[in-house]
């Protein structure tokens, strides 16, 4: 979707220690028998990596490539195609504001503006303390609750601009009130 230039001088070939720990590799191996090819486990593996680190680093991509017996460029290709995956560190909590039709007509713009004001950052930026990142997304399929705002996995419904500060300051704003599957660890803080 978009081109990304890597500074070859700045990107180290390989770190001393692998970033994928044995526990993570074990977690990824669970997905291998599900598919005919090793490569097909790439998306689940990326989810596991992103859940653990918050983003998919260049180093992790290389190690995933080795694990799944594909080229590192193929991993990079996939990571950059899907908007869900981050290639750089993000905040502990990611605030996502939907910007598609139903939310837009119900006032998502003013919710986004309020988020920017409360957090003091712009779109696709992270606060200096590393607590929050702010992003917008296209339709998140919660149009009946428009305008909606996600904090990590948790959906906040019918958000008004005056609710934003309360939602962001609430320590439990990312907590899901349902039982979680252990297959994917999920974003930290959930």
């Amino acid at each position: 979707m978009s081109w990304k230039v890597i500074d070859r001088n700045a990107a180290p070939d390989k770190a001393e220690a692998p970033v994928l720990t044995d526990a993570l590799v074990e977690k990824i191996r669970v997905f291998l028998p599900r598919y005919e090819t090793k490569r097909a486990a790439l998306l689940p593996a990326l989810h596991v990596v992103q859940d653990h680190f918050g983003y998919v680093s260049w180093q992790a991509m290389q190690e995933l490539a080795e694990l799944l017996e594909i080229n590192a460029s193929d991993v990079f290709d996939v990571v950059t195609f899907y908007t869900y995956f981050w290639t750089h560190p993000r905040g502990e909590k990611v605030v996502t504001v939907c910007r598609s039709t139903a939310c837009a007509f119900m006032g998502a713009d003013s919710v986004l503006d309020e988020c920017k004001k409360v957090l003091g950052i712009g779109e696709h930026e992270t606060t200096a303390d590393g607590k929050f990142s702010l992003q917008t997304e296209e339709c998140l399929a919660t149009c009946d609750h428009a305008p909606c705002l996600y904090v990590n996995e948790r959906c906040h419904k019918h958000v008004k601009p005056e609710d934003v500060r309360r939602i962001i300051e609430d320590p439990n704003n990312a907590k899901l009130d349902i039982e979680r599957s252990t297959l994917f660890d999920g974003v930290k803080g959930a």
Binding site: L46, Y82, Y84, F85, D144, G186
Partner: protein
């Protein structure tokens, strides 16, 4: 909260697909079985042959609920007879604004999806089914995964289901938030661990799909209909709604209406009823007026406030210049919203989600966004409207130029807005400051 059809009107219509909305115990296996769940799967697997199941679904003329409306039974019968491995993919990628019916189904009735998957898997002789769920469906993932775990523990999934000798594994494959992965071959590529780039057809997935094996891709809502067809018969299904658009259908309504939500009805209601009837949308908020409606997801096109008598079935939308029924998810634009911001929002969606494989879609959608962005910023020109109409007329599968239908959707959304709201757009342009436009153009060129 998700609302179903008004309980006081149950005499005229009893919800079928949404019968478990607001029934939390139906999410669990015991709750679902206590309410008659998995009876249809047991009947299909123990009393019917795979061909019987296909014939029954074919006879019911169950048209795909994902957007294209292709009959599911016919799709299943395209599979080659001498195949050894078959894959079943469940499309739960749901990214079309403003559609959320699959989300409602998965949240409230995950076992109905699994039951439909088992029957479809049996009919197509698939031994592995992948539920392709978009990455942003976190809550829904946990709910459906828990249902799958329960089903495995009870022997409803895995080997030898209901003592029939048939075995099926169901896995959830989480995507990464790409709209184009809702296209069936894009979805297949994504499961294979690649970018979601749609494939050139033919060969169609039924011949060569996932891992180059015969594959069937069905929508969540389509599969949720299957158990009811098996349980109650094709004649019952054909008796609901008008001819050619039979069966229960989920309608989504969102925007500034009093009761946005997902509702179930036969396909004999009009768009006006969906918006104004107290059983559904309940009318507009704060006395606002309907300016425009995207009745089938934005890619199907727009209708004006004067065209609300359109019936929500598979045939009527074409009479109003739309691409089709689509996902039957309507979003209402009220009269306080500038049509230029609407067209800009729609164009941005498609330029963001175009996969970049076909030139006219990649370039066309991004240029349409640039032009509509300019329009919305009071810097539009009259020629822009003609140019937008020209660009949108030159992309898509229908002129035979692209691999998938994404550009058709982009074209229809823009084309219909330009056609139906041209006078308003021209008025907006006439109000602009011609000097500013001139200066802006000089800067650009």
């Amino acid at each position: 909260m998700v609302r179903t059809a008004d309980p006081t009107n149950l005499s005229t219509y009893e919800p079928i697909l949404l019968r478990h909305v607001g029934v939390p115990e139906a999410r669990t296996l015991e709750g679902y079985r206590a309410r008659g769940g998995y009876k249809a799967a047991e009947k299909a697997l123990t009393q019917m042959s795979a061909d019987d199941v296909i014939d029954e679904v074919k006879r019911a003329n169950l048209r795909g609920r994902g957007g294209a409306g292709f009959p599911a039974g016919v799709k299943w019968s395209f599979l080659p007879k001498d195949r050894t491995v078959t894959y079943l993919c469940v499309n739960a990628d749901e990214s079309e604004p403003p559609t959320f019916s699959n989300r409602v189904l998965m949240e409230n009735d995950p076992h109905a999806l699994i039951e439909g998957t088992i029957i479809a898997g049996y009919a197509t002789r698939a031994t592995t089914a992948y539920i392709y769920m978009r990455g942003e469906f976190w809550e829904q993932f946990h709910i459906v995964q828990k249902a799958i775990d329960e089903a495995y523990a009870a022997g409803i999934l895995g080997k030898d289901i209901f003592g029939s000798g048939y075995g099926l594994n169901v896995y959830i494959h989480r995507g990464g938030g790409a709209y184009v992965c809702g296209e069936e071959t894009g979805l297949i590529e994504s499961i294979e661990g690649k970018r979601g780039w749609p494939r050139i057809k033919p060969p169609f997935p039924a011949i060569e799909g996932l891992f180059r094996k015969p594959t069937v891709v069905n929508n969540v809502e389509t599969l949720c209909n299957v158990p009811h067809i098996i349980e109650r018969g094709a004649d019952w299904f054909l008796g609901i709604g008008p001819e050619g658009s039979s069966g229960p259908k989920l309608f989504c309504i969102s925007g500034p209406v009093k009761k946005p939500g997902c509702y179930e009805w036969a396909m004999d209601i009009s768009l006006r009823e969906l918006i104004e009837d107290p059983r559904f949308g309940g009318g507009m908020r704060d006395g606002k007026k309907v300016k425009a409606v995207f009745p089938g997801g934005i890619s199907m096109g727009v209708v004006t406030g004067d065209e609300l008598d359109m019936k929500m079935n598979f045939t009527d939308p074409a009479k109003f210049g739309l691409l089709g029924l689509g996902t039957a998810a309507a979003v209402v634009v009220d009269d306080s919203i500038d049509i230029r911001t609407v067209i800009r929002n729609v164009a941005r969606f498609f330029s963001h989600e175009s996969c970049g494989q076909c030139t006219q879609c990649r370039e066309g959608t991004s240029w349409m966004f640039k032009m509509t962005d300019r329009l919305a910023g009071n810097l539009g020109r009259r020629e822009d409207l003609d140019l937008l109409a020209e660009v949108s007329g030159n992309m898509g599968m229908m002129p035979g130029m692209s691999i998938c239908g994404l550009s058709d959707g982009a074209a229809f959304a823009i084309k219909t807005v330009i056609k139906k709201f041209r006078s308003e757009l021209e008025e907006c342009i006439a109000r602009e400051n011609p000097e500013a436009v001139k200066i802006a153009l000089e800067v650009v060129n």
